[in-house]
């Protein structure tokens, strides 16, 4: 972005919005929006409380567990669908339905199946994240150059080495892109899951603050969550860029 002939970094726009938020907050026009400075102070205070730390650990736990299963299942299904047309036509329609379906609507059903606890949240994270990983992995596998597979076969690679040393690595950029998008969806999943279950982790805190109109703490919680999601996504993007560099000539 350029402004008055100067190159302005992308983050500068964020600063503008922060200033607007502060002004609106200070004017007291809307009680829903407290001044940003108060919120930031609350962030610092909040992370030091035991309640927040316990909630964060519960949440992180559910998230990581759900993501782990989503990545394992997603990559395996994606590879299967990318390599076998039978698996592709058998599963393709379901994956495409679920990737665009409003999964939040399913959470109450999950509660009946898995109870009012962490299991439901883990399953929610899994369901939010897994489909996009399947689709991206499938696309990556299908994009592996045919000649690279033939090369492996003609130089005597076994089926196992063919997958481990060639197909998987060749599809890695797309698989990582799928995981990055899956992580972002997984964060949504963990919050929605906990909100609807409403008795554990971050969801419980959100529920507590919004019900008591404690907007300062509510926004503090939101900012921490956003920062965490963006940080995770940026981390994976970083790995992705490094892999893309080596895969540059495909």
């Amino acid at each position: 972005m350029t402004m008055f002939g100067y190159r302005v970094p992308m983050m500068a726009s964020l600063l503008v919005w922060c200033v607007i938020w502060e002004i609106v907050g200070r004017s007291g026009a809307m009680f829903l929006i407290p001044p940003l400075s108060d919120v930031l102070v609350a962030v610092v205070a909040l992370v030091q409380t035991g309640t927040w730390q316990a909630a964060a650990i519960t949440t992180l736990n559910s998230f990581l567990l759900g993501m782990f299963f989503a990545i394992v299942v997603g990559v395996i299904l994606g590879v299967l669908m990318g390599r076998s047309t039978t698996a592709d036509s058998l599963l393709g329609i379901w994956v495409n339905i679920f990737v665009s379906a409003p999964l939040s609507a399913l959470v109450p059903v999950l509660m009946i199946l898995f109870g009012m606890g962490e299991t439901t949240v883990v399953v929610t994270v899994f369901l939010f994240a897994v489909w996009i990983i399947v689709l991206d992995t499938r696309a990556g596998i299908q994009g592996v150059p045919k000649s690279l597979v033939e090369m492996g076969r003609s130089y005597g690679a076994s089926r196992f080495t063919l997958y481990g040393k060639i197909i998987f690595l060749a599809a890695l950029p797309e698989i990582l892109a799928g995981i990055r998008l899956g992580v972002v969806r997984g964060v949504k999943g963990v919050v929605i899951g906990q909100l609807l279950v409403a008795i554990i982790g971050y969801g419980e805190l959100f529920e507590l603050y919004s019900r008591n109109f404690d907007m300062v703490n509510f926004w503090a919680l939101t900012i921490i969550l956003f920062a965490a999601a963006m940080g995770l996504s940026a981390l994976i993007e970083n790995i992705e860029k490094r892999v893309d560099y080596y895969a540059g000539v495909r």
Binding site: G156, A247, V249
Partner: protein, 268 residues
């Protein structure tokens, strides 16, 4: 130049006295309803470079991949050193049209990959890879990645990888078609030196008449789909002359012309 007509091909396809490295017997290939190859009988003499030449879609690459064991024939048989081909084998190495290099691996690892798949130890295979990297003229590029190399250099990596596994038969699928013209000429000259030096059997697929005549001991011309043997020509060019002299040689030019006359009616 010796022209062996199609009628006499089956008899003359067996070169008198010379060893035969690859025998192709009654190969037919159907892709669903489309007949790609029909009744191919062909012998490839050991230690020679034989070119498969023909209009696009004549099945020359298909035939090469059947010899490689990468695609099964519908009927017929291929024997390499007397053994029937059922799949890829260590006595054959393939050079790909699009190089088929692993973009995440260095030149060194790519060249040694055939040996890596055989389970050879790292030091041993790097020593062998090093030798062939030098032989194809890529010394100093061992730790580069494929995207840092030009097209011609990438194919040199593909060639070094094929040499490194020490196969008897090298199968080259239009190896120079993705290489620019200047590099291609230099590469053809280098290839001839390597053919001389390595004493291996080369089967070479190309659609360039000049390339075929320049490089080959024997040219097999395939007809349009379904692919059949239309002509077998042995250019008999004196290769002791300099590359530039060869390209101006009357015998060379006549052979190019004759093949062109034979192929012209396939062009729309």
């Amino acid at each position: 130049m010796r022209n062996i007509t199609a009628q006499a091909a089956t008899a003359a396809a067996r070169p008198a006295g010379a060893d035969v490295a690859v025998e192709v017997r009654g190969i037919c290939k159907m892709y669903n309803e489309i007949e790609a190859l029909r009744g191919i009988d062909l012998d490839f003499p050991a230690g020679k470079l034989t070119t498969l030449l023909g209009p696009s879609g004549c099945g020359k690459t298909t035939l090469l991949k059947i010899v490689a064991g990468l695609i099964p024939a519908t009927s017929g048989e291929v024997r390499v050193n007397g053994n029937t081909v059922t799949g890829p084998g260590p006595e054959r190495a393939f050079v790909f049209q699009d190089f088929a290099l692993m973009p995440w691996a260095t030149v060194m690892r790519n060249v040694g990959f055939g040996l890596e798949l055989k389970g050879m130890g790292k030091n041993e295979r790097q020593a062998i890879a090093q030798k062939y990297i030098a032989e194809v003229g890529l010394s100093g590029f061992e730790n580069k990645y494929p995207h840092e190399l030009s097209g011609g250099m990438r194919q040199r990596v593909g060639l070094a990888r094929a040499f490194a596994v020490n196969a008897d038969v090298l199968l080259l699928d239009e190896p120079f078609s993705a290489v620019d013209e200047q590099n291609r000429r230099k590469f053809q000259e280098d290839l001839l030196e390597l053919v001389e030096k390595e004493k291996k059997t080369f089967i070479f697929v190309t659609h360039s008449i000049e390339e075929a005549v320049y490089c080959s001991d024997r040219i097999v011309i395939l007809s349009r789909r379904p692919g059949r043997i239309a002509q077998i020509i042995e250019p008999e060019i004196d290769r002791s002359a300099s590359p530039d002299a060869i390209r101006r040689d009357q015998g060379y030019l006549d052979t190019v012309e004759e093949i062109w006359q034979g192929l012209k009616h396939y062009v729309d």
